[in-house]
């Protein structure tokens, strides 16, 4: 546990990007028209960046090459912590920038953040990347691995976006019935993938069988990974309910 906190490896490009993004967001936030400035978007954005840093720079990253369960935690941090926090933190950026970008961008933004579109994008991204051939490819090629994480983060940022009323461009889920359905089906599709991994009788990712050098231990690791996905996903969707359901 201590090693997880201490053994960080900073990638210069990612570190610089995160820092620039944080400072840029703070600058935009500083020009927020209302007083007092709301702290939630600022804290959420920095919290989201911290979550990305934990996933990409902490000991979780090298550990994820050796253990599927660690890799699953990494994905959960990106999709269920970083993505929603960044979406909540986006509000000052969308308020400041989107009106200047013109109607075609707004139209695209609106189309891309329709709940049906975001749901399908998140599901397809999640399932495609967990297909054994793609998963092993990502583990074998660092660039593909980075693309995997970036697309998961983006797809799930879009997934959470319909809950946040930006007041511009982003389509919102309007009723509690729709929000409940969206959360329940979103949780079910990711839970299904977790269940298939947790209850599969054989190890499905050759990379981990090779690294762990024991089919049985690799299978146990896979069961743990599936349980992490199934249960932590369920907990996140349940925790999201009181934050997103409004009683209208």
């Amino acid at each position: 546990m201590v090693a997880l906190v201490t053994g960080w490896q900073w990638h210069p490009l990612l570190g610089a990007t995160l820092l620039a993004s944080g400072l840029g967001h703070a600058a935009v936030w500083w020009r927020w028209p209302e007083r007092p400035r709301p702290l939630v978007p600022l804290m959420a954005w920095w919290g989201g960046l911290l979550a990305v840093a934990i996933a990409a720079c902490s000991r979780l990253d090298p550990l994820s090459d050796a253990r599927l369960s660690a890799h699953m935690v990494q994905h959960e941090v990106l999709t269920f912590a970083a993505a929603p926090l960044l979406v909540v933190g986006m509000r000052p950026v969308t308020l400041a920038l989107l009106p200047r970008l013109g109607s075609p961008v707004a139209r695209w933004g609106h189309a891309l953040t329709r709940p049906r579109v975001t749901w399908v994008l998140a599901a397809v991204t999640l399932w495609v990347w967990h297909w054994p051939a793609f998963y092993d490819c990502a583990l074998a090629h660092p660039v593909v691995h980075d693309v995997e994480h970036a697309t998961l983060l983006t797809a799930y940022a879009l997934y959470w976006s319909p809950f946040v009323a930006f007041g511009y461009a982003v389509a919102a889920l309007r009723t509690d019935a729709a929000r409940t359905l969206y959360l329940a089906t979103g949780g079910t599709q990711s839970g299904l993938l977790g269940a298939l991994l947790a209850f599969k009788g054989t190890a499905v990712y050759p990379h981990y069988v090779g690294v762990i050098a024991s089919g049985e231990l690799a299978l146990r690791d896979q069961q743990l990974a599936g349980l992490i996905m199934l249960v932590s996903g369920a907990a996140v969707f349940v925790a999201a309910a009181p934050l997103t359901l409004r009683g209208k």
Binding site: T175, R179, A184, F199, L224, L227, V231
Partner: protein, 489 residues
């Protein structure tokens, strides 16, 4: 309050939306689980061969799905009924639904993909010692139950907050109870009293659920070395049996709220009604341990308490609700709609299922009958002829009222068919129990198969009746739901 006051008013449109989703989702679950029940009976009849592995998976799913489906459909209906009198938070109901669906998802996945087949009662240590399922599947079911318990907490807290907004004592009709001679013009209606009682019971029973689930999850995590199996069996039955028992009390709230409409007479919160429902808060927690009569290490005091408690539990139901319901309709110009027929059939289901339970709670009878089909007989009568009939009746009534579609005369046949099918199915179970045919057997010997063959036409009758009523409900429910959205809020 006028017994014929409309359900939809200026403040409860959003609550009725949530209630409709609860009722449709809960009863949809009941239909699917009922079809799984038909599969098991076909297997018992020797008509269909299901492997033992799949039989026990189906049995586990059938039990868990039926109890939770009926309970949540009932909660939704009760929220709709009390929303006429008090302000219920629709937000709380939606959150509860999402948590409930999450719990059910975990349980279903563990059974379908994880081959979990230890029965819905998940008796320790079976879930962690399966030959066909892994510890991961057992853990997933336990966590699924934990979420279901959390959902009960959310829904019960939502109901309790609404009903006690004007005082705890008022919600429990203590003024009526402790000052019976006074005039009680501002009395709470019985559904509000019932919602308060079931919410308190729901919150308390979840404590028992936590006492069962948390140590076992800690055991799986390696934090606890060994959980006492007898204690675990007591806590799981205290949780599970009370939860199954709670279904009928929740559904009774629908009867108290709706039967006066059909009888065109109010049902008052009289002193016996107040006493009976207040006593249920206590007596519902005694009968669980009649499932442990055959555990010789169980303390004798608990066995005696269970025997007496099971008898005591019958009094509030029999003496007050059932006699009260019959008195309400006696001599009334009753509107014999399908809903009224189903509710009155349900009263008899409650009586007969309850009698079966009381017999099973008598120690010498229990020693002979408890591991036979007598036990499924009593809880099928109780739930199928009782709870399910009440909840179907309420959904049929609500869909008709909100969509302004009058009940069809021909649909009375569907209600009677349901009653005949459900009663026939239960009677065959009782006959099997009386002939000592064991329960929870995947394979029935040739001598036993005749009973299940007799039962199957009755199950098919129920399927036909529910398809008939379900088609009518589905034709109306869209309009009913839209109408709740148009209501001012």
């Amino acid at each position: 309050m006028d017994p014929e006051a409309p359900t939809l008013n200026a403040t409860n449109g959003s609550v009725l939306q949530a209630a409709i989703v609860y009722l449709v989702a809960g009863l949809g679950t009941v239909v699917v689980m009922g079809l799984l029940g038909l599969l098991m009976r076909l297997d018992h009849a020797g008509i269909l061969v299901i492997s033992a592995d799949w039989f026990y998976r189906i049995m586990t799913l059938h039990g868990a799905g039926m109890v939770s489906g009926l309970l949540f459909a009932g909660f939704g209906g009760l929220a709709a009924v009390v929303s006429v009198d008090v302000r219920v938070s629709s937000r709380g109901l939606w959150i509860g639904l999402l948590v409930f669906l999450t719990g059910m998802m975990l349980v279903v996945f563990a059974i379908v993909f994880g081959a979990f087949a230890a029965g819905w009662t998940v008796l320790d240590p079976l879930p962690y010692q399966g030959k066909t399922w892994t510890v991961a599947a057992g853990v997933t079911v336990y966590i699924g139950y934990l979420f279901t318990g959390l959902a009960i907490v959310v829904v019960c807290a939502t109901l309790l907050r609404a009903t006690t907004a004007q005082g705890f004592g008022r919600a429990l009709a203590w003024d009526v109870l402790f000052h019976p001679g006074r005039s009680h013009e501002a009395e709470v209606r019985p559904p509000v009293l019932i919602a308060t009682v079931v919410a308190i019971v729901g919150l308390l029973l979840v404590v028992a659920g936590l006492a069962y689930l948390v140590p076992l999850l800690l055991e799986a995590a390696g934090a606890v070395k060994h959980v006492d199996t007898l204690l675990a069996k007591n806590t799981v039955f205290l949780f599970g049996h009370t939860m199954a028992n709670l279904c009928i009390y929740v559904a009774a709230g629908l009867v108290y709220g709706t039967l006066p409409r059909f009888a065109r007479r109010p049902w008052h919160t009289t002193w016996p009604v107040a006493l009976a429902w207040n006593s249920i808060i206590f007596v519902i927690f005694f009968p669980w341990s009649h499932h442990l009569y055959q555990d010789f290490v169980q303390p004798l005091g608990l066995q005696i308490l269970s025997n007496l408690g099971s008898f005591a539990g019958a009094f509030p139901s029999f003496v007050v609700t059932i006699v009260g319901a019959l008195a309400l309709v006696y001599g009334a110009d009753l509107d014999w709609s399908p809903s009224a027929i189903l509710m009155l059939l349900g009263v008899w289901g409650w009586v007969l299922g309850g009698l079966g339970a009381i017999l099973d709670a008598v120690v010498p009878i229990n020693q002979v009958m408890h591991n036979t089909m007598w036990v499924p007989a009593h809880f099928h009568t109780y739930n199928m002829v009782g709870v399910a009939a009440f909840v179907w009746a309420y959904l049929y009534h609500l869909a008709g009222e909100l969509s302004d579609a009058p009940a069809r005369r021909a649909s009375r046949w569907a209600a009677w068919l349901y009653g005949i099918g459900a009663a026939g199915t239960s009677v065959v179970f009782f006959l099997e129990g009386a002939h000592s045919i064991p329960r929870r057997y995947a394979v029935h010997e040739a001598d036993w198969q005749g009973y299940a063959r007799v039962a199957i036409p009755f199950v098919v009758l129920m399927v036909i009746a529910l398809a008939w009523l379900g088609a009518e409900i589905l034709a109306r429910i869209g309009r009913a739901y839209r109408r709740t959205r148009l209501a001012p809020s």
